[in-house]
Symmetry: C2
Subunit: 402 residues, 2 copies
């Protein structure tokens, strides 16, 4: 890694400001509006939910990102503005217009994102004043509060930033994310916002974002299993003054990998903060024939309810691990697979093995539980992240009434 982590999030890079407000969408006195703003127009790229049912703000942002330029993002939590028909679309556009008016920039340069309950009208009488307030107080120190304002069931804000050198210039990449609550973002909404002062073309920016998200956020989910509102967008304003990145090469790769570091840190934070989670599960598949095989198997193991429940119960049940790999669609030889829990080998050549139950119990009691599958076939690796399945997951999602 040629970049280093620094403190901060979406306002770490030069020329990025953020402001927040409480619009009482979620609860009274909770921040629920964030505006992120670049002092100059920026290259923009995004990846969006594959759900057939797309919330209005997703449709607006997809269209605007396709133009390749943007200058601000307005986000609210507490209401998804999904399944609200034409009114929902009018409200999403009005949110962007409100921010644009205060910031003095073209409406088309404002992206919109929402997260919260589906099928409830946006309380625009409170949202618009909230946006005015947030946009009116953007500042270089506002990133941390912005990361708080986008939270729903998250228990802590998630932000990260890195610094790297590109041709003698210092470039910063920062970001913030709100958790999906669970490791499958189909379960709730995943929103990620990245900012950088790198000079880079929209096409290269989009390619780097896709590469980084595929190896981070898409490894805490199953492709296509996304909510109505998921999105990850990035703005690059060029203020670092580096030689613009217009194609492949060392500068592109360094930037892409730095963005990857920010993505991975945020994705792991989302997984660890899964609803009801008591432990992070990190699944590594080693020596698969193809990267796709490794990724399929790693994601299936991390997503298996039975594996998740076993980790919650500190049960060294490797049979559930190999079973999940077996139905993942990955190609491998079951009679070659070695399985480890942390440093304890629990299966060899797809079969049982004597191991220290005591040591396994210790590994399973850790803050992070590493599950490693060695396919012993090729040279491709992948890592996926998830969390255990606890009583509290049910409690949080059942809003139990009887």
């Amino acid at each position: 890694m040629t970049c280093e982590f620094i403190s901060g999030g979406v306002t770490a890079a030069a020329g990025f400001l953020a402001g927040t407000a409480c619009a009482a969408i979620k609860k009274k006195d909770k921040r629920d509006i964030a505006v992120v703003y670049s002092t100059v127009p920026a290259a923009a790229a995004g990846v969006f939910t594959l759900n057939l049912v797309k919330a209005a703000p997703v449709l607006v942002s997809m269209k605007r990102v396709a133009g390749g330029r943007a200058q601000a993002v307005v986000v609210n939590s507490g209401n998804a503005n999904a399944c609200n028909g034409e009114q929902g679309m009018r409200d999403a556009l009005a949110m962007a217009a409100e921010a644009a008016g205060v910031l003095g920039i073209p409406e088309e340069y404002v992206l919109v994102a929402s997260t919260g309950v589906i099928g409830q009208k946006m309380p625009m009488d409170r949202v618009l004043p909230g946006i005015r307030e947030a946009a009116g107080r953007v500042s270089a120190g506002g990133g941390h509060l912005a990361a708080q304002a986008i939270m729903t069931t998250d228990t802590y804000p998630k932000e990260a930033a890195v610094r790297l050198e590109l041709g003698g210039k210092t470039v910063t990449v920062g970001g913030m994310a709100k958790g999906s609550g669970m490791i499958h973002p189909n379960m709730a909404t995943l929103l990620c916002f990245f900012t950088t002062d790198a000079a880079i073309s929209p096409a290269c920016l989009g390619q780097a974002l896709k590469y980084a998200v595929d190896r981070s956020f898409n490894m805490i989910t199953v492709d296509g299993d996304t909510s109505t509102n998921d999105m990850a967008v990035i703005l690059a304003n060029g203020l670092a003054g580096n030689e613009p990145i217009e194609g492949g090469g060392p500068d592109y790769e360094a930037f892409r990998d730095a963005l990857g570091e920010v993505c991975t840190r945020l994705a792991v934070a989302v997984a660890r903060d899964g609803e009801g989670a008591t432990r992070l599960i990190q699944v590594e598949v080693l020596n698969a024939a193809t990267e796709e095989d490794a990724r399929l198997a790693a994601r299936a193991v991390a997503g298996s309810s039975l594996v998740k429940a076993a980790v919650f119960g500190r049960d060294a049940n490797w049979g559930r691990v190999i079973c999940a790999a077996g139905y993942s669609g990955a190609s491998f030889d079951p009679e070659k697979v070695d399985i480890f829990l942390g440093d304890v080998q629990v299966a060899r050549d797809g079969g049982s093995l004597d191991f220290s139950e005591e040591r396994a119990l210790e590994v399973l009691g850790g803050d992070t539980v590493r599950i490693v599958l060695d396919f012993k076939t090729g040279s491709c690796h992948a890592t996926a992240w998830g969390c255990d399945l606890s009583y509290d997951y049910v409690k949080i999602n059942a809003a139990y009434r009887t």
Copy 2:
């Protein structure tokens, strides 16, 4: 429906006997061995797990069913005999051979099935005497105890039988199943055994079984998400004396639909008895453009953890329902979808609607919760079944230690 339900299960049809024994595989004094036997050789067909990791008994039974004839099935619960390498294969063959010896039939006519823990050697010193005992006491009244012997975390045995007329002859189709514990059979093992005295060719039998299972057991799961041990097999011994069914036509269709009735009743029983379940969820998708669209959407809604948790908590959260349909891969127009909980309409044209919360709460408190999505596009329907997600699911699967 041209058939009628009668009492009984795998020994309801003429010429089928069953016997059981306690071999202390699960627990002392719990039945865990069942042998089902036809007094004459029978046509055989089966469908088997798509998991890459297949238990030894699955491999043995797949090979034997391919021959089109069988006369007995030996089943044990408590140990899956999966991931046991060559020893596992030797043990599975020895189990079949033991039953064949006692019953005086060819080894190749005996199918084998196992369910339980993965990766533990079969305790053959107890299993073989158990098989001897069970095979030695097969009787026409043994079906009910057989349905008990194959249970693992099931809370009640599952059996069903129907009778129909084919060309003036009375034909009986019976069956038993053990639940997967959860609505996704990837979560545990689903075993189903059917018997019939119909005269039918192995090819027609296989076709009828696949048709019936696709519309029942495969609607409480996601295709491909199956355990290492799942199987459904059927034996047809011809003792009813009907004109043999050798191809399509009214007799074939009547038989297939009768088998379908048995399958559906057992599948619904499995879903209702899901681990920790407090309610059955029945999801009906109406007026989809294709049957595949209807099936994809119904299964995704029934399988969504958030929908399941909402039903447990009696939360009329239709947003989670449309979101699951949206990521299912089904094609539909989100702005046309109507959603009902029982007889209460909760969404119209993909948007919110005023409804009686009180009445919805009542529907959600029922033993069976019906969720209906009307796509208003075509004329294809599908139904899927599942259960709610409760604290007890986590408890059962976590074997919580701390």
